[in-house]
């Protein structure tokens, strides 16, 4: 196994260029998920070794080849939600941090949901940037974004019911959308 100095962000950047993948590419996040990496921007020795074993690779070239398979694995319904939640937790850099700032959330949404739910993400990001009820997003709101994209018909929002248990931020988002549409 090539010795890679991974216990630093620079190390990861180097890894990325080796793999031919941008640092901000979602596949790095997927890799982190597979590796069950705890800290954003860092892979520990343990995580690296265990993860590579799970992927069944032992060289950088093989790792590169394994990336598309990894993507497919993540997109499997049983994994996808797990990955999605992981993405959020990965952003909690401080100890006891429970929420993530709006800017980062917008980037994360783009990264994680952008491919599958482009229109929803675009509107949601626009809304998050103009509203000022919330300066941060917590885990509960985050998971509900995914559910919203999966369950609610877009852009008509026909089956959205504000008297149900959707978080208030989504109630406000829907109201904002409806006003825009009329």
């Amino acid at each position: 196994m090539p010795l890679v100095c991974l216990s630093s962000p620079e190390g990861i950047e180097a890894l990325c260029s080796d793999l031919g993948v941008d640092y901000t590419d979602v596949r790095i996040l997927m890799l982190a998920w597979k590796l069950k990496a705890e800290k954003q921007g860092y892979f520990t020795q343990d995580e690296w070794q265990t993860g590579l074993k799970a992927l069944g690779v032992d060289s950088l070239t093989k790792l590169k080849k394994a990336l598309p398979e990894l993507e497919k694995e993540v997109e499997e319904p049983s994994n996808y939600e797990d990955f999605y939640i992981y993405a959020f937790q990965y952003c909690l850099t401080e100890e006891k941090q429970k929420s993530v700032d709006i800017e980062s959330i917008c980037e994360l949404l783009n990264l994680v949901l952008g491919v599958q739910f482009r229109p929803q993400v675009d509107s949601l990001v626009e809304y998050l940037k103009v509203q000022n009820d919330y300066k941060v997003i917590n885990a509960d709101q985050w998971i509900n974004f995914l559910r919203f994209c999966k369950e609610i018909s877009f852009p008509d929002l026909e089956n959205y019911d504000a008297t149900q248990a959707w978080p208030l931020i989504l109630d406000n988002f829907v109201e904002w959308m409806r006003e825009k549409q009329s």
Binding site: K98, S99, N138, D140, Q141, N144, R147, T163, Q164, A165, P167, L168, D171
Partner: protein, 732 residues
């Protein structure tokens, strides 16, 4: 002893000689036939009952019952046909009289005949399943007289004509009517119904349809109802006099339908005289009549109730949104109470205290009182006014009545917590300025609030009263242990427990030397007996009585606020003081200082100070002097009171914000309580339960509840269920 032969005695039936005379039956029958004739010809006196009875008896006994019976039928029928003819011959009004007379005759005859034929009635007739004599007599009458073609229709039209005459005001022979009707009833209920009642009801319906049409065009609502009531009573009376009692409900239904039900909406909404006008003018009699009549028809009462409700809501809405009327809160609340009294009276005097109407009244009041979000504040101001001066000299019973009425309005409020906030503020002002008319009245109201809302609501209020009492005791103790101070200025301290009293930010000003020394003594005395407490002087809430002597020797006692006292005392050591000097010396915050100086320098009758320049407002460059020319016809002059007033806009906003803030923990506590006991609950049910729990304080907003739930999720008190997004789970 003998050899006599034994003789067997045998008992044998006594044997008649049976005479089988073929002509026997014939002969016997003709005797009876003759008797029947005589009876019908009013010649019964010459007959021997015993003989006739025996004849009939024999016929039946000898198996000639059949002949007897058919003979009876034939004979009676023949007679009835004759009778029929004579009735038909009667002219005009005599028709009914003749019918009646013949009917009576027939009944008498029938009775006698039945008596004679009693044996047949009891033996042959049941065995042969024939109609008994009496009933037979009635049936024959019915078939041959009443249903004879010439009599049937004439009878009906005569009866109906008489009824019509009576309805148009003529007097008729009721006794005759009664007899004829009774005859029909005796002939069987189907005869009564088919030959009289049904057509009677039809004709009556037409009649009343016409009547109601006539009246509705020319009468106002009240008059129409009077007429309807009269007609209804007439019909009921008619029934008691000459109709079958079972007809009462049928004929009243007809009148109700034609006169009331068909025109219900038109009556209720009649312009200038309909229900709304009656309500406005307190027309108890008309309203009572309407109630009594309408309760007889389907949807009658609910129609009245609905119109009353929408009218009330309209009036109420106008009341609470009319800017003019809202200028004086006390007036406003008085208007509400007056309106409630008015409708209470209407419901008790005219609507028989009907619960349905009471409920409608309550729901209407609840609706419009809450349309104006200042209602809680205004009701508290009303109470304040009453407890401050309004109830002066009023007897204890009356006081209770007024307070109970206020409680009634309180019950309608959705935002009871807003009321509580204001009530506390106003109570504090009353207690601290000593301006309450009656301690009993204050306490009585607290008790009522406690009964209505529970201990939580009033515990702080009661704390305020306790503080006042305790302070009195403390003052006594203070002066008892500091006898050397009895000659100096008298200090009265009220020690308020933080938390029970409405919070005010306290900025202490600089007290005059005499006072600050005294206050210090008090402080050490108090802290000596109550360790671990902290005292902070609320100089913005106190008052002072000062004796002043002015330039020309006028002496007055001035009742002022603490701030004002600080300012005035400065003038013991200086004739002229600039605004800035005063500000410096007293340390009173700017806006308070300006208000305080303004009340002493710019208000006629209270201008104990003079200022230069003589402008209306206090400027920071102004100079102030004692007004040596001050005069007042009163020795005691009151400057600066701390009366409760309607809040200004910014104050209102602030109070409302505080209320909203206070509600958050209450909502959260309710959510936690519910989730703790239920463990798992879905969204809609949480909202419903929380709303219910908080109902007695305020109407919880579902959006606000949602916010609190999310906040609790974030703080790990609750979580969402993984599988069913609508469920929440309590995290221990």
């Amino acid at each position: 002893m003998s050899n006599q032969k034994k003789r067997n005695f045998q008992i044998e039936a006594f044997k008649h000689r049976v005479v089988v005379d073929p002509k026997y039956a014939e002969k016997t029958w003709s005797v009876l036939e003759h008797a029947i004739h005589e009876i019908y010809n009013h010649n019964a006196s010459g007959l021997s009952f015993e003989e006739l009875y025996r004849n009939a008896y024999n016929m039946v006994l000898h198996k000639f019952g059949e002949k007897l019976y058919s003979g009876l039928v034939t004979t009676m029928t023949a007679h009835l046909k004759e009778i029929s003819k004579s009735i038909e011959a009667a002219q005009g009004g005599l028709f009914l009289e003749e019918l009646n007379r013949k009917w009576n005759d027939h009944n008498k005859a029938l009775q006698m005949i039945r008596d004679i034929l009693m044996y047949m009635d009891r033996t042959y007739i049941p065995n042969a399943h024939k109609t008994p004599v009496h009933e037979l007599g009635l049936n024959l009458w019915r078939d041959n007289v009443i249903h004879s073609s010439k009599i049937q229709s004439r009878l009906l039209s005569m009866l109906l004509e008489l009824v019509h005459k009576e309805r148009t005001g003529e007097v008729i022979d009721r006794g005759l009517m009664r007899n004829i009707i009774k005859m029909l009833m005796d002939l069987g209920s189907s005869v009564y119904q088919e030959d009289f009642e049904k057509p009677f009801l039809e004709v009556s319906a037409e009649f009343y349809m016409g009547e109601s049409q006539k009246f509705i065009e020319c009468c106002d609502c009240g008059d129409y109802l009077k007429k309807a009531e009269i007609r209804l009573n007439e019909e009921i009376e008619r029934v008691t006099h000459y109709l079958d009692v079972k007809s009462e409900v049928k004929i009243t239904n007809v009148v109700e339908k034609e006169m009331i039900a068909s025109h219900m909406m038109r009556l209720v909404h009649m312009e200038n005289s309909g229900l709304v006008n009656m309500l406005l003018d307190d027309k108890y009699e008309d309203l009572g009549r309407m109630y009594n009549l309408f309760r007889r028809v389907p949807n009658g009462l609910s129609t009245i109730r609905d119109v009353m409700t929408s009218h009330l809501r309209e009036i109420g809405k106008q009341l609470v949104t009319d800017a003019e009327k809202l200028k004086d809160p006390v007036e406003f609340v008085q208007r509400l109470l007056d309106e409630k009294d008015k409708y209470d009276n209407i419901i008790s005097q005219a609507f028989c205290n009907d619960k349905m109407f009471q409920n409608a009244l309550n729901s209407s009041f609840e609706y419009f009182i809450n349309l104006n979000n200042r209602s809680p504040e205004f009701i508290s101001l009303f109470v304040d006014d009453k407890l401050r001066k309004g109830l002066k000299g009023v007897g204890e019973e009356e006081v209770e009545i007024i307070l109970d009425k206020v409680m009634m309005l309180f019950r309608y409020l959705q935002e009871k917590d807003v009321f509580e906030k204001y009530y506390k503020q106003h109570l504090a002002k009353r207690l601290l300025s000593g301006k309450t008319v009656s301690d009993e009245a204050e306490r009585s109201l607290i008790v009522k609030l406690k009964t209505e809302c529970g201990y939580q609501f009033t515990s702080k209020l009661e704390g305020m009263f306790t503080d006042m009492k305790t302070s009195q005791d403390t003052m006594q103790g203070f002066y008892a242990s500091h006898l050397e101070l009895t000659d100096g200025p008298t200090l009265v301290v009220q020690v308020l427990t933080t938390g029970s009293w409405p919070t005010q930010p306290s900025i202490t000003c600089n007290l005059p030397a005499e006072m600050s020394a005294l206050c210090e003594k008090f402080r050490s005395y108090y802290l000596g007996t109550h360790t671990g407490r902290r005292l902070s002087w609320q100089t913005n809430m106190g008052t002072a009585d000062i004796k002043a002597t002015f330039g020309k020797g006028q002496k007055h006692e001035l009742n002022v606020s603490t701030y004002q006292m600080c300012v005035l005392m400065l003038f013991n050591n200086a004739d002229r003081l600039s605004y800035k000097e005063i500000e410096q010396a007293t340390g009173i915050p700017t806006s308070d200082l300006k208000r305080c100086l303004q009340s002493m320098a710019c208000v006629k009758g209270k201008n104990v100070l003079r200022k230069e320049p003589m402008s209306k407002d206090i400027g920071e460059e102004d100079a102030l002097f004692v007004n040596d020319k001050f005069t007042s016809k009163f020795y005691k002059v009151k400057i600066g009171t701390v009366v409760a007033q309607k809040e200004t806009e910014p104050e209102k906003l602030e109070t409302r914000q505080r209320v909203e803030e206070d509600r958050k923990p209450q909502i959260e506590a309710a959510i936690v309580r519910i989730m703790k006991s239920r463990r798992v609950l879905d969204h809609n049910n949480i909202i419903a339960e929380v709303t219910k729990q908080l109902q007695s304080r305020f109407l919880a907003n579902p959006t606000e509840i949602k916010k609190r739930i999310e906040s609790l999720i974030e703080r790990d008190f609750l979580e969402r269920d993984n599988n069913d997004r609508k469920l929440y789970r309590y995290l221990a």
